[in-house]
Amino acid sequence: MSAESAARVERVDPLEPVPVLAGRPGDRELNDALFEPVWAKTRRGWLALFAVAVPLAGLLFLAIAYTLATGIGVWGNNVPVGWAFDIINFVWWIGIGHAGTLISAILLLFQQRWRTSINRFAEAMTLFAVIQALIFPALHTGRPWFDFWLFPYPSTLGLWPNFKSPLIWDVFAVNTYFLVSLLFWYVGLIPDLAALRDTSRSRAARVAYGIFALGWRGSARHWRHHRIAYLLLAGISTPLVLSVHSVVSFDFAVSVLPGWHTTVFPPYFVAGAIFSGFAMVLTLVIPARKVFGFESVITGKHLDNMAKVMLATGLMVSYGYLVEHFNAWYSGDHLESFLFFTTRQRGPYAPVYWLMIFCNVVVPQVFWFRRARQSTWALWVAALLVNVGMWTERFVIIVTSLHRDFLPSSWAMYYPTWVDWSIYLGTLGFFGTLFLLFLRFVPAVSASEVKELRRELEHEAQAHAAH
């Protein structure tokens, strides 16, 4: 540590070496800074990214149309490998969504200040990720036009879904998650929408933001109701952070297939979800804060904390791997031993397995080092690798378990087709499109909450000075 930075540490709170808010900007300054991306002219960089994302999203819809028209035979799925990219991508996107909920709900309840400037960002990411995730279960069935049979409704046939099936639990869990995430994000957005309405320079913008602001006037009554609703939604969201991915993991854990039939799955899936979610937040926030100049509100402190969360959840994920392998050995089950010690490590998909180990077990270890946590480049590369790693983890769980199961006679390889890749890349494009639209039309950092944070910090500083 250099002498200069050591001196700075002495000046500020020793427990918070890097502040959650740089300087003490006024309300107007904050408004200008945070609403600037909305009111400014469209940036070149944004346009360039949009020009990449939209065609990819178009590819997604083409691939979906092609799949619906011909059948999911255009994917690479086959008989031992009944699920592949469809469910890998579903689980991956759902997992990514988790960071948003964790940041906005759990950290809110735990009164973690550093969540304030990234929560909107993370919530939007959650929402858009869940939208991507929802595409897959809806599309992966053989007859998607009958997907509504998975919902419990009083049908004239007198038939109900099979409540014993984890897929039904999925339907409830994921839809609840989507609705709560949407409400939470929107409720948090209302004061800022009103502020946008009030500062807008064109009538069209005023009307548009006015409609979505739902008549917010910023009265004490409004604030009171808003706070209650927001906290309630946070309370509802909190169990979802744990439940959604637990339920998703039941899709596997409840089956009899070696590699799926594992009791450690629920906590390990939740940890993996948060791990991948934070990785995705970092992947998005690092370039965005640079481009939009949010460095003063999304500070090194935020990045540092997120890296620490990733380190913690990465270790949990590694522990999950360890437990899986230990149980395979300890149970003496020859099918599980074969899967964990032969198929995964030495089978035809072994490179994917070792890539997973590298990305999810080795890479997060760099976060033990402060320099790595403080280097945006190191963080960004590591976050990208973790994103890759978590995708390969789902590939390893789903495809390698299925492709060599009980009877060697039915073993077969799975190879993705161009449609599989189009849909996967397409969801990245669709996600990017939604996210870019979000950055362009909605304040990406919650102005009202940052202002609140500033006041709190001032109060604290005053109280400190009074001593």
Binding site: I72, H334, L407
Partner: protein
């Protein structure tokens, strides 16, 4: 099909040239009436003959008509009365009900008796006739797949002469004219090229043609000819004989390259007899097979002696030598020869044969040269087998002076042939490479070719005649024991066509009599009696003519000739040997257009839609090739390129080349599938030949479509096999029964029916008859090579094949696997929409209508027996193929999961009958399609709630075990351990 059918269904379309009911002649123009075929027709030829019978429009017309006729069916009944199988009550066509008709199909020239299910006039399923000596109620893959040929939309319709279409009447007239043109010179320029056939009617017709045209000649061509067998017997007995094996009487069997379980008309009976001798115990039979490629018979053997085809004779002589030296069979002294190799094996086999004298049997395959067959005749005579475990009968009458193909080629080349009538199967494709028949045939002014479909030969023939399918035509066939069957048609020809007897009869001026009159008259002449009509009906009903079996002989062997023949075979050329075998699926190419057979996995390699040059691992290493590598094969200056497939257990220094692929004019199904091994085959060495050169070409791997790629059991308890000496029931005691569970016991103990199945691996040969039966019964679609390569084949019943032991000569295990109907089914609880549920009787039922296709059930199925419709596999069905569909089974659509249902439709049929009769379902009344087809009776199905049922007995067997018992699924299908009976001396 009596009164109802006839009147009503005739509305659907005027038949082919049959006489109008009023007996008056019809004519279109004065010119036609006055006998001029010369004038151009008023309408295009065939316009009046319902040419669009199965065009789209035509189909909908028929569809509409059939709806109007209250679903009486879209097929016309045959025009002459046919009679349902005798055990069925005689009744008219009942909508929704099906009838069985007995008929026979030629396999290797001989008849195999069948029962064909006819649903509202449409033949929909082929089963074996239990009364017939060759089928004993079973039906092989070929017999069953023949049904698909009937409905093939690519079948030839009508007749063309020099490119001009002809009507049915015109073709008969042309044939008569053609025949008349040969009267003058006694038929010297008239030739016939026919296949081998044991049909008395065809033999009659040939004899009569020969009498009318003394100068005409018959040539016989079969690409899988049995010339060597007859030649060997001519040496041994002085006349051509056929050997009929009786495995049920044999205790020790030595097969010299004889794949009797896969090929030939008796394979069904032999599988049954072999299986009967495999009941574990001291009486268990022992099978030795000496062969190069891993055949079905070899994979069932207790000892498989790997050797090159050319070494088989020496091995046989070594056995004879030992028998003569050690066991006092002095008669064999002349034939025997001290072994240069495999002395231990030869001695052990000879000792074993000698111990079982009178119950020993030696057999040789048709691929082996005449000397081997002569030697085998001598061995059987010396071992007391002749007349006991093998019966000899005179080979069916050769048409007088039948001459080989080579003579025909010479005659055509010399310009001595004006008319050549070809009824043999596709000779241009099947002829040996040194007889280039195609250009020669094109030079014949009138090359009349009778064929089911356009093919390589029809492209070269000037006069192409559409053949009626065997299920559309009258005829007769003898079985190998002489038993005659009348072949009755199940349906009127779907398109204008002639049968072989009708074609030949037109050279006798009887072409318009129709097959029925021809065959009936010939039998009436053979067996005249006043009540012949009633007798005839009985024959048709029963499927055979009683009292036609002939007694087997034990003719004396001319030992001197045998010894001379055995000694006269030149030593085989050194180096790599090419060995040509009939393919297990397409035979010599005649099933190459049959999609069921193309998609059926090969019993050993599990390849579909392909053949390959088969090699042993050691030879592959030596030649620097591996599975999938393409290689160039050169033999006598001829070359083909073929992909290589390495098979454990294959003999070294031999390349096995399955025939029947590489067809160039076989429609969308068969064209350019695999490579043509026949292009390397010479007429003088049709089965094996040394001097082959094999060199890898290119680096691109060939894409095989195999349904199974892993052949090791990975040490798991899957297909279990024990040697008899090591077997004890405790070895599998832990693999059956309920596992400890906290759940309630599954199933209702009060339930009167608890369906279950048991499969005896000791009996199963892996022949795949069950797989085809399942496909036919359950409307299972064919998906094509690309889909199979993506592991999406739809077979509900598959036959898993594993190798165990020594990779050079492994034990081969076949295990049929279909849904095992778990009592605790993992598929059921994971289905989100209750589309797969359990019945009270223990069936794991699939509700297609409810399925949304999440595939979760398949992922959670430990047996991976569920099949998913990744595409709309049933969309573009030609109208004729729709007629093939079993109306009792739903045709599944895209996005739906399907699997074995234990033939629930058959259970329900029987339940309806039982309910109407007010009684419970009887044991043996419900037969699943696989069980019914199985020639070895390896599959038993029935009611586990009935302690006296066979399936209960098998479930209670000490050999019974549950597949993947440790998963706790409690399958209703149990397996019985395979027991082998190896010779301790060879251990």
């Amino acid at each position: 099909m009596p009164p109802l059918g006839k009147g009503a269904l005739h509305v659907l379309g005027e038949g082919r040239g049959e006489a109008p009911a009023d007996g008056r002649e019809r004519w279109r123009s004065l010119a036609e009436r006055e006998g001029g075929g010369a004038h151009p027709a008023e309408f295009p030829a065939g316009a009046a003959e319902a040419p669009e019978a199965f065009s789209r429009r035509g189909f909908f017309k028929i569809l509409g008509a059939s709806a109007a006729l209250a679903g009486l069916g879209a097929c016309r009944p045959p025009r002459d009365a046919i009679h349902p199988w005798v055990r069925q009550p005689e009744k008219a066509v009942v909508p929704g009900a099906s009838l069985h008709y007995a008929t026979a199909l030629a396999v290797g020239g001989y008849g195999v008796g069948l029962l064909v299910t006819s649903t509202e006039g449409r033949p929909t399923k082929v089963e074996g006739n239990p009364d017939h000596p060759s089928s004993l109620g079973a039906a092989g893959a070929f017999e069953q797949a023949a049904l698909l040929d009937l409905y093939d939309p690519r079948r030839l319709r009508g007749f063309t002469r020099r490119g001009q279409p002809l009507s049915h009447r015109a073709v008969l007239r042309s044939l008569v004219e053609l025949a008349a043109s040969h009267r003058e010179d006694g038929g010297r320029r008239l030739r016939f090229l026919v296949g081998e056939s044991a049909s008395p009617l065809l033999a009659d017709l040939r004899r009569r043609i020969q009498a009318s045209y003394p100068g005409a000649r018959f040539h016989v061509f079969e690409s899988l000819a049995r010339d060597e067998v007859r030649g060997g017997h001519r040496v041994a007995f002085g006349r051509p004989m056929e050997a009929r094996l009786r495995l049920d009487r044999a205790a020790v069997i030595l097969s010299l390259d004889d794949d009797f379980l896969a090929l030939g008309p008796d394979r069904l009976r032999l599988a049954r007899e072999l299986a009967a001798g495999r009941e574990p115990g001291p009486e268990m039979s022992r099978l030795y097979v000496a062969e190069a490629h891993l055949s079905l018979t070899g994979s069932s053997a207790d000892h498989r002696l790997r050797m090159r085809p050319s070494e088989v004779l020496a091995f046989g002589r070594a056995v004879a030598h030992r028998l003569a030296e050690k066991h006092g069979l002095a008669a064999l002294a002349g034939c025997g020869l001290a072994p240069a190799a495999r002395a231990r094996e030869a001695a052990a086999v000879a000792d074993d044969l000698a111990r079982a004298r009178g119950r020993a049997l030696v057999t040789a395959g048709q691929r082996q040269p005449a000397a081997v067959h002569a030697l085998v005749a001598a061995l059987n005579a010396a071992l007391g087998a002749a007349g006991a475990t093998v019966e000899y009968r005179p080979a069916p009458e050769d048409p007088a002076g039948a001459a080989p193909l080579r003579d025909l080629a010479a005659a055509i080349a010399a310009g001595q042939v004006d008319t050549l009538v070809v009824t043999a199967s596709n000779p241009v494709y099947g002829a040996p490479a040194d007889v280039d028949l195609g250009p020669l045939l094109a030079r014949v002014p009138d090359g009349v070719y009778l064929t089911l479909r356009p093919d390589e030969t029809s492209a070269r023939s000037s006069f192409v005649v559409a053949a009626s399918h065997p299920f559309e035509s009258w005829g007769d066939l003898r079985a190998t024991d002489g038993t005659a069957s009348i072949c009755q048609p199940l349906v009127a020809p779907l398109a204008e066509s002639l049968s072989e007897p009708e074609l030949l009869a037109s050279f006798l001026g009887e072409g318009d009599r129709g097959g029925h009159a021809l065959v009936k008259a010939s039998w009436e002449a053979r067996r005249p009696r006043p009540d012949f009509d009633a007798e005839w009906r009985r024959w048709l009903g029963r499927g055979l003519v009683p009292g036609t079996a002939t007694a087997g002989e034990a003719p004396a062997v001319r030992l001197g000739a045998v010894a001379a023949a055995a000694g006269a075979v030149p030593a085989a050329r050194q180096g790599l040997e090419a060995s040509f075998v009939a393919d297990a699926k397409v035979l010599d190419g005649r099933f190459a257009e049959n999609a069921w057979m193309q998609e059926l996995p090969d019993p050993v390699t599990k390849l579909t839609w392909d053949n390959a040059a088969l090699l042993s691992p050691a030879t592959a290493r030596r030649l620097g090739v591996e599975t999938g590598r393409r290689a160039e094969l050169r033999l006598r200056g001829r070359r083909v390129e073929a992909p290589v497939y390495v098979v454990p257990g294959h003999a070294d220094d031999v390349v096995t080349l399955p025939l029947g692929y590489g067809r160039t004019a076989a429609g969308p199904v068969g064209t350019n599938v695999g490579f043509s091994a026949g292009a390397l085959r010479s007429g003088d060495a049709p089965w094996f030949e040394g001097g082959l050169a094999l060199a890898p070409v290119g680096i691109r791997k060939h894409a095989f479509a195999a349904t199974q790629e892993h052949f090791s059991m990975e040490g798991r308890d899957i297909a279990l096999s024990f040697d008899r000496a090591q077997w004890s029931p405790e070895k599998v005691a832990h693999l059956r029964g309920a596992l400890p569970t906290l759940l309630d016991p599954a199933g209702d103990p009060e339930e009167p029916y608890r369906w279950g199945m048991a499969i005896d691996l000791s009996r199963c040969t892996g022949c795949s008859a069950c797989a085809v039966a399942c496909q036919a019964e359950n409307n299972v679609p064919v998906v094509g090579k690309a889909q199979v390569a993506r592991s999406r084949e739809m077979h509900w019943l598959r036959i898993d094949r594993y190798f165990a032991g020594d990779p050079e000569n492994p034990e081969v295990l076949s295990q049929p696997v279909a849904c095992v109907h778990c009592e605790r089914a993992p598929c059921e609880y994971v289905c989100p929409v209750n589309a797969t549920v359990h019945s009270d009787e223990g069936l794991n039922e699939m509700v297609y209508n409810r399925c949304v296709g999440t595939r979760y059930c398949s992922n959670n199925c430990p047996y991976k027996v569920r099949r998913f419709n990744f595409f709309e596999y049933n969309k573009e069905k030609p109208p004729t193929e729709k007629m093939l569909m079993n109306p009792d089974v739903t045709v599944r659509h895209r996005g739906v999961m399907e699997k074995c249902s234990y033939c629930v439709q058959r259970i329900e049929r029987v339940r309806i009958t039982a309910r109407l009769e007010g009684r419970p379902i009887r044991e043996g009344e419900v037969l699943t399609a696989c069980q019914q087809a199985c020639p070895a009776q390896a599959i038993v199905f029935g009611n586990l709630a009935d302690p006296r049922s066979r399936v209960s007995a098998w479930h209670g067997s000490d050999r019974r075990y549950d597949l993947l018992h440790e998963v706790g699924t409690r399958p209703r299908t149990a397996y019985l351990v395979r027991i082998r009976n190896p010779n301790p001396e060879l251990a």
